[in-house]
């Protein structure tokens, strides 16, 4: 009964936090605690409804093939009966969106709860909660969308919220620049996505997901294969930006400028996974175009490796986590590209838990150390902050891929699907990335939480509002992966594109990934904990000086973009402007000057002096007289009398 209600009214899930936003902005803002309660309460209620809706979906196998869709007209142009353009808004509930709905609202609830403690004493406390609520609402709307334009709206609103939240500390120049960078970078990507959507609308005449899926299945009736490929590539540009794929990943590490709960929200549950989700949602499009799939896979695989190499050298705790997010998103894209929606969504799911956990853990550390972010200045935190440390360790085990923690199962799924689809190079890259991931994650953990304590620090464990979310999420990081073990893959039965395939269990790949993860952790252990005194790490950095510097400076991509923006774009703008004032305006002023000068010239004749007029008059009479004398009388008479005979 209640389940049925939740399914039929799934739009309540995004609406509740949206209402919270309005209530906080207009009513509750002066009272901090009230604002927080409104935000957390609405998100928790949304989570409750989302859970019910998810229960409804995951108890009826029909929804795998036939999603529950209800929609209404948003606007239309042209005749009512046969519109030229009609855009619907609605809800599309199927296992994928139900899973996301639950995941986003669940994790957001705990991040909101955590923020109560984390943001204590901030002057923008209530505003922060209003932004968080809007952020949650936008993401939930995106998840539920039955129409691509509706999704795009939510997609941009998510971008707006991230802009507001990354730049939350408005007085900081770094925050301001980071926010702008995030928005503009995503804008560039959205330009591609928008072109893709326009083409889809023009070619197929609809943006409703289910209708598009039906039409694209036999796209030959509408368009050529080349056009479809172009559309797929254009659509994919959007996720490249939003999900921080190479080469538009630059904004994601800078997004650290926001308060830590925001980083957790952006990196784990919302925003960045939106890109992966969009590709997953439009699998029917990519599925028809193998070359686009290839592009997705290669982009993902490359990004995973690329970001992992940068993460090795970074020193700030949140920055390391940020690059690990980029890398993990690469995995998800890779999985989509090799055709496994199931593996991709599975990794998205497990990643949400352990990455939210680790970010919140990092936030707890930062609060304790008064925002000293360099891992080399930490050390031994486990003694004073046991809950934070041990939950962080669980997150570390999960992301490194140690069974039975969540990350192992999903990463294994991705590796196996890369292998099964014959992408051996990508498989090797992904496997090597797994090794790097274990290494840099545990480098951070050993440096920050173990080893000798830094006497300059006086850490304290955080209050319960912060530790409870850590504990809850760590349970998720332990168990979330058990849904999709290769022996009994419940996950794959429900969340898939096309047929569920039950292959033989690939013990080789499993063993390899355990060995690689173990090797990474062991290497980090020897370098940074056991033999830390020998300073081998520093020596290695010196040996590989240029490489180290290149990695530390993120391959200098930011500098390249900065140069491009400042020298090229601003330079061109300046040129345009100069052209405008000197050429276009020059012509306008020139015409004005011409009018004035010719006026000046003509003024000679309008002097107002009688003598001059008489002189002209006299000269005229003289001319007529001369004409009369030398020519026939008719001409002269005509001249004088105006042709009247």
């Amino acid at each position: 009964m209640l389940v049925e209600f939740a399914m039929q009214h799934a739009w309540l899930v995004p609406l509740l936090p949206a209402c919270a936003f309005v209530v906080i902005v207009f009513l509750a803002r002066p009272w901090q605690l009230l604002s927080a309660i409104v935000a957390v309460g609405s998100m928790a209620t949304a989570c409750f409804f989302a859970t019910l809706a998810a229960i409804g979906i995951f108890t009826n196998h029909e929804y795998v093939e036939k999603p529950l869709v209800y929609a209404t007209r948003w606007f239309s142009l042209g005749l009512p009966g046969m519109p030229d353009l009609r855009i619907d808004v609605g809800v599309q509930l199927d296992p994928v969106s139900a899973m996301m709905l639950f995941m986003v609202s669940f994790i957001a609830t705990f991040i909101f709860l955590y923020s109560i403690g984390y943001m204590k004493g901030d002057p923008g406390y209530s505003v922060f909660f209003s932004y968080l609520s809007l952020f949650g609402a936008s993401m939930l709307l995106l998840v539920l969308s039955s129409n691509l334009l509706q999704m795009f709206v939510a997609w941009e609103l998510v971008g707006l919220c991230s802009y507001l939240l990354i730049g939350f500390y408005t007085h900081k120049i770094s925050a301001r620049e980071a926010a702008k960078k995030a928005f503009v970078t995503c804008r560039i990507a959205d330009f591609g996505l928008l072109l893709g959507l326009l083409s889809l609308q023009i070619v197929f005449g609809t943006l409703n997901l289910t209708e598009l899926a039906g039409k694209i299945e036999h796209f030959e009736e509408f368009t050529s294969f080349g056009m479809l490929t172009l559309i797929a590539v254009l659509v994919f540009i959007g996720p490249i930006g939003k999900s921080g794929q190479f080469p538009l990943h630059v904004w994601l590490p800078d997004a650290m400028e926001g308060p830590t709960p925001v980083s957790a929200l952006i990196h784990a549950a919302t925003m960045v996974v939106a890109g992966v989700y969009l590709v997953g949602r439009t699998m029917f499009l990519f599925h028809e175009v193998p070359s686009a799939m290839q592009l997705v896979a290669v982009t993902g695989g490359f990004t995973a490796l690329f970001a992992a190499t940068i993460a090795i050298t970074q020193r700030e705790i949140k920055r390391i986590l940020a690059y690990s997010t980029v890398s993990q998103l690469g995995y998800m894209m890779l999985a989509l590209g090799v055709g496994s929606l199931s593996a991709s969504m599975f990794h998205l799911w497990t990643h949400a838990f352990f990455k939210a956990l680790m970010f919140l853990g990092a936030g707890s550390v930062l609060t304790a150390l008064h925002h000293k972010a360099d891992v080399w200045e930490m050390g031994g935190l486990v003694k004073k902050m046991p809950i934070t440390a041990w939950t962080f360790v669980i997150g570390g085990l999960a992301i490194a891929g140690i069974p039975p923690f969540a990350g192992f199962w999903s990463k294994d799924e991705i590796l196996v699907s890369a292998l099964n689809s014959g992408h051996y190079v990508l498989f090797a890259m992904a496997a090597f990335t797994a090794f790097l991931t274990a290494f840099y994650m545990w480098r951070m953990i050993f440096l920050a939480f173990f080893g000798a304590e830094n006497p300059a620090n006086h850490p304290q464990e955080s209050p319960w509002t912060m530790t409870v979310p850590l504990l809850v999420l760590s349970v998720g990081a332990c168990l979330a992966g058990l849904l999709g073990t290769p022996w009994h893959n419940v996950w794959g039965e429900w969340i898939r594109f096309g047929e569920a395939h039950e292959g033989p269990v690939n013990y080789g790949a499993m063993l390899l990934s355990i060995v690689l993860a173990g090797a990474g952790i062991f290497l980090a252990y020897t370098l940074y904990l056991k033999d830390a005194k020998k300073k081998r790490a520093r020596k290695m950095a010196e040996w590989f000086g240029p490489v180290y510097r290149m990695l530390y400076n993120k391959y200098y991509i930011d500098e390249l973009y900065l140069w491009f923006n400042h020298a090229l774009v601003d330079g061109t703008a300046k040129l345009f402007y100069l052209f405008d004032i000197y050429v276009v305006d020059g012509i306008v002023n020139g015409i004005g000057a011409f009018a004035r000068l010719s006026g000046d010239g003509l003024r000679v004749f309008q002097s107002g002096r009688l003598q001059n007029y008489v002189l002209v008059f006299f000269l005229g009479v003289l001319a007529v007289a001369v004409l009369m004398a030398f020519s026939g009388s008719t001409t002269a008479a005509g001249l004088v009398l105006g042709g009247v005979k």
Binding site: L77, G167, Y577
Partner: protein
């Protein structure tokens, strides 16, 4: 006869102006209140008209004076009427007019004369949108020019150029535009009268007669109108009055000018030039598209190079009008809907932008971006208004300007392909300059010299509340706007289409 609602809307500000003339000049508060009441009555009535217009029936409604001959020999009647295209523009004028009164709340230099002129200005603009007679249309259009010039020269401000230059440039451009227009209109009138024999200046009459003109006549007539309306809507390369003019004008004039006055250009293009001369439009459409796209990209780049806030918005409005021209050039249902809707959306956004900049200037005495920063801490409400306008300017979904732009993009991409892509790329540059202006003005470390600033409050909040509400409501319920516009565009498009099909058989 029904209550002549359009006439009442038109005359409310006139009445206010008349009363103002008899108010003692020292009674500043009374003066403002009378102006506010005058515009409020107009606004309320036009909202009423907007929501009681019957979209099912469509066509001309609230007709007034169609059988009231005024100049018989020229076929001029005082014909007022509204349809789905003029009602949004009328509403827009009133929304902005009402807000402009409050944005000028702190005008202390001869407020009585200021508000009298403002009332006349608003009346003139409204008149152009509800006139259904070309002569009356032109008459109202000329009414607009006079107050603008006086207001810029007396109450204006200047930086790069003097306000006298700005006022002169603005006025002369308007006049040159109207000169071309006048020639076009006279030629059209003479030609059609020669065909039908009975002089008729009403839109419908002219349009019906103009269909018998030869394609050649339509082409050069359209060219004249394009020059006239084009320079009014700041079509590239006739745009250079716009940044200078807005920068020199007082806030209320910038709001009205950028918000609605230049939309007369777009409105005229659609409802006069395109409607009466579809064959000419067909000929010029590709050129218009090119000019539109150049305008979008060129002005966006120009805006990127600005350091004066008003110049940023001035260039930005040229850029946005490029989309309108591009959309008109598409000549299909989606494009025309998008053109009208985008004029409405841009009007609300530009007016909000200019009112916020006006307040910033009033308080900080500067518009120079490098001299500002961190205002979000000191004046948070101003910052909200500014960011709202900025976000609308870059076409953020959820605000009123997104869907109009989206429809324009669909139509333009469909009709002009690669050319449209250049125009669509404008959204990136727009984001760049808008965010840069916002960030450097509002964010970053607060400056101690602005610590004493007072945030906007009381009457100063009206522009933010009124225009901000429209931005958000229009963004989430686009059908409120589009159903209305669509009901006006459909018959117009059908008429054009018929003419073009006939024209094809020539």
């Amino acid at each position: 006869m029904d209550f002549p609602i359009l006439l009442a809307i038109l005359l409310a500000p006139v009445a206010a102006a008349l009363i103002l003339a008899f108010v003692p000049r020292e009674e500043h508060m009374l003066i403002r209140c009378i102006a506010a009441v005058g515009t409020f009555v107009s606004l309320a009535l036009s909202l009423f008209a907007y929501f009681t217009y019957n979209q099912e029936i469509g066509g001309l409604q609230f007709v007034f004076g169609n059988n009231m001959p005024w100049i018989k020999d020229l076929g001029v009647t005082f014909f007022l009427a509204a349809d789905g295209i003029s009602l949004p523009m009328l509403l827009l004028t009133n929304l902005i007019g009402f807000s402009a009164v409050f944005a000028s709340w702190n005008v202390n230099n001869r407020p009585r004369e200021f508000f009298i002129l403002l009332m006349l200005l608003i009346t003139g603009v409204m008149g152009t949108f509800i006139a259904h007679d070309l002569f009356i249309f032109l008459l109202f259009y000329e009414v607009v020019v006079i107050p603008i010039y006086i207001m810029v020269v007396i109450w204006g401000s200047s930086k790069r150029v003097t306000k006298e230059y700005a006022g002169m440039k603005l006025t002369i451009y308007l006049l040159i535009g109207s000169a071309f227009l006048l020639v076009g209109v006279i030629a059209l009138f003479v030609k059609t009268t020669a065909i039908t024999g009975t002089p008729d200046m009403s839109f419908t009459g002219l349009a019906a007669a103009a269909q018998q003109l030869s394609p050649f006549d339509q082409t050069w007539l359209f060219a004249l109108m394009l020059l006239g309306f084009g320079s009014l809507i700041s079509m590239w390369p006739f745009h250079s009055w716009s940044p200078d003019g807005y920068a020199g004008a007082p806030t209320a004039v910038s709001m009205i000018h950028a918000g609605v006055l230049k939309k007369i250009g777009g409105y005229g293009l659609v409802k006069i030039a395109l409607y009466m001369l579809p064959l000419g439009a067909k000929f010029w459409a590709p050129y218009m598209a090119v000019f539109g796209v150049i305008g979008v990209a060129y002005a966006a780049m120009g805006a990127l190079a600005q350091k004066d806030l008003k110049y940023v918005v001035g260039y930005s409005s040229v850029s946005h009008m490029g989309y309108v021209i591009l959309a008109v050039a598409c000549m299909d249902v989606i494009g025309l809907n998008g053109a009208v809707a985008n004029m409405f959306a841009h009007g609300v956004m530009a007016a909000l932008f200019f009112s916020m900049i006006g307040f910033i200037y009033e308080k900080t005495h500067t518009r120079w971006i490098p001299d500002m920063g961190g205002l979000a801490r000191q004046t948070p409400r101003l910052a909200v208004g500014f960011m709202l306008a900025a976000m609308a300017s870059l076409g953020l979904p959820g605000l009123v300007s997104f869907i109009p732009e989206f429809t324009i993009f669909i139509s333009a991409f469909n009709n002009y392909g690669g050319l449209a892509v250049v125009g669509i790329a404008g959204i990136i540059i727009t984001a760049l300059y808008v965010l840069r202006a916002g960030a450097n003005t509002l964010f970053g470390p607060p400056r101690p010299e602005y610590d004493h600033l007072q945030d906007i409050k009381g009457p100063e909040l009206v522009p933010l509340v009124v225009l901000g509400t429209v931005l958000v409501v229009g963004g989430f319920l686009p059908s409120l706007l589009f159903d209305m516009i669509n009901s006006g565009v459909m018959p117009l498009h059908a008429a054009i289409n018929d003419a073009l099909q006939l024209g094809g058989n020539f």
